[in-house]
Assembly symmetry: C2
Homo-oligomer: 401 residues x 2
């Protein structure tokens, strides 16, 4: 039986493919520090479970396709309170995580062959989301030495074509941790207007910007409101990845009309997860400050340790909870296999995401890795130390061979 060409062209998650080996290693009694996946160890706020447990309807019924009105209103209140942005419940469509919002968005706006610009390296599942529609990802090249900055007119103009339909900004960035400056956001906005593009702003890490930067959204730029689609989620902001609650927000009525057709076709999103998630968006501003401080401390701990590696290239990332590290090696996958299968320090080792999987351009990113600083500071320090000492052992072994 034959599968579709799009299915054949899709890749397995490059982050997840080392998991079976890791599981085997862990079953043998070795401790692995997991910096390979963006699964925070932060407690989910208790209001989520409290609201879910208080739910006592006899029949667990369908919700509205667009979303539970209480959730939609909680989201609107959050945008108004935290950012002064005026969304109405009718501007928002609840989805199963940001992932479904993105698949639905590309289905709504892309014809086969249409191109989507996105700075490379990028969250690799975008390839699948775009390929589902027969669309094409067109990467905007960046370099580790420039800290993966991409939002200049020249760099954007260099990749435009008559097939370009949209530009995606994951901001703050995954996997780079790059936080766009307000000026860079304006540059992207002008570019989208000039070339009549949709601007898809994936802002799941919005509150995680450091070094005195103030969180802000592309939705704060009024002149792009008709072409802007904001993608958001409770997963990272509230450490509620398993709730699978995300949403798309836009003031473009045609887009909302289009995405609601898809939302209706799959009826609705989980009723109880929406009830729990509505409470998350009612958390006070102090919650974001607390989380921001926590992740900033982790970033600093990671960065300090990583910068002790000779010949490393690493820009201290301004946001999210990811850090890209360009190592003096040829093949990060080979290094990861060494860490998983050979290297042990006090019966411990470490796991990261080899960054080649975040590049659509073949052969790129082979010396780079991504770490997610999702563990407590002390563990992060230890994990980064294991990368450093593991690298020493890896290089010593390679010299010998």
């Amino acid at each position: 039986m034959k599968l579709s060409r799009n299915s054949e062209a899709m890749q397995f998650s490059p982050i997840r493919k080392f998991n079976p080996i890791a599981t085997e290693v862990e079953n043998s009694g070795v401790k692995i520090y997991h910096l390979n996946i963006g699964q925070p160890d932060v407690k989910t706020p208790e209001c989520f479970a409290a609201a879910v447990n208080a739910y006592d309807e006899d029949v667990l019924a369908y919700q509205q396709s667009q979303g539970d009105i209480n959730f939609l209103e909680a989201v609107c209140d959050y945008y108004r309170r935290e950012y002064g942005i005026e969304y109405k419940p009718t501007d928002i469509v609840v989805t199963m995580g940001a992932s479904e919002a993105l698949t639905m968005t590309f289905t709504t706006i892309l014809d086969p062959g249409d191109e989507v610009l996105i700075a490379e390296p990028f969250y690799s599942n975008y390839c699948t989301f775009v390929l589902t529609t027969g669309g094409v990802v067109r990467p905007i090249p960046t370099t580790s030495t420039e800290g993966y900055r991409y939002a200049s007119k020249e760099r954007l103009e260099a990749v435009i074509s008559d097939k370009t339909k949209a530009i995606v900004c994951i901001n703050p960035g995954n996997p780079t941790g790059l936080a766009l400056t307000p000026e860079e956001m304006e540059t992207v906005a002008d570019f989208a207007i000039e070339h009549d593009l949709w601007l898809i702003a994936d802002e799941a890490y919005r509150e995680y910007v450091y070094d005195g930067m103030k969180p802000h959204s592309f939705a704060n730029i009024d002149r792009i409101s008709d072409r802007l689609i904001v993608i958001d989620s409770v997963s990272k902001r509230f450490s509620a990845c398993g709730a699978r609650i995300g949403f798309a927000a836009s003031k473009n009525e045609d887009y909302i009309t289009g995405i609601i057709k898809l939302a209706q076709s799959r009826l609705c999103v989980s009723t109880i997860d929406q009830i729990g998630s509505a409470e998350l968006f009612k958390l006070p501003h102090s919650y974001y400050e607390e989380m921001n401080k926590e992740y900033c401390g982790r970033r600093d701990a990671a960065y300090e340790e990583i910068m002790q590696i000779p010949d490393v290239i690493c820009h201290k990332p301004g946001g999210a909870f990811y850090m890209m590290i360009d190592l003096p090696i040829d093949d990060a996958e080979d290094f990861l296999m060494f860490l998983l299968t050979e290297y042990r320090d006090n019966n411990e080792t470490v796991m990261f995401a080899p960054a080649g999987g975040f590049y659509a351009t073949p052969g790129k990113g082979k010396s780079e890795i991504r770490i997610a600083y999702v563990l407590e500071k002390e563990y992060i320090k230890r994990a980064c130390e294991l990368i450093r000492t593991g690298l020493e052992a890896y290089m010593a072994k390679n010299v010998q061979e």
Copy 2:
């Protein structure tokens, strides 16, 4: 800003489009009996909420992309226990309702232009699921006078083309309530083999077959195991529509490999809904018997009342909880508008789904309606009485005009 051609071609849910009018009518104090949507009034078994409330992890984390192993094992146990079918957890992928399973399935097997056969009338969201991939729905025509039967060699051969890639059987059927006989299932199986087609069996209502028929699955037919994809869900079987837990099951390893790429791209399905749903599949056989008896009683009550309508065409449906009724009118949508906006009996009225929306062929099904017998017997009787008396008033009015 332009949307995609596929998005423009998609339709709003024909079932849901009368909802805003109904809400207005209800707000004015009129009681509406809702036979228009498959949302049962049956209590969700308490084991679901009990399991969700017992969940006490600090971090609501991602689940495996393929699904929670406890849920997968509970599903395998159910298939083994109830049907003697041997699925392994690796044969199953958990999805957000049957809807996501279907969208992912078509993305995995269809190239643009590929055709999917399905008996018409059919659950209208299939059009959107197929259109997402650029595929084409090719209806198998049926008639109300023949009770919508379609599974004969002649009828199937009449719609095959060199673009046909799959045949879908919603069995028992939505909207028809048609339950295929074992012989008809064999006919479909042979047809799929002869023309090398995928067979997609949407069996969300599997246990709801009446009049002495024994529930069975296409997965009981061994010779099609390599081309069979079973779509299933907790929604209707356990009155847990809001859980949004469905799955695809297949022994075709290439298909499972393909759909897992899509499953990985959206990370996972709700953690707590899977925990609750695992318990549902542990319910004893007596649960299905009890539910079957309940729905059979409702069907009989509805049928008895409906058959009092002069010149009605209605075959007593053998399964699911839907009944198609061919009325002596020209336009079921016009009749529904009359019921919603003009007809009142004791300040009550009734809502059904006009069946035109279940036909892909323009102009078909205009005199037909679908009712979902999802309310208690007494309410079903009253609701069907309102269809009958409402029709009398509608016809009297039309004669006057």
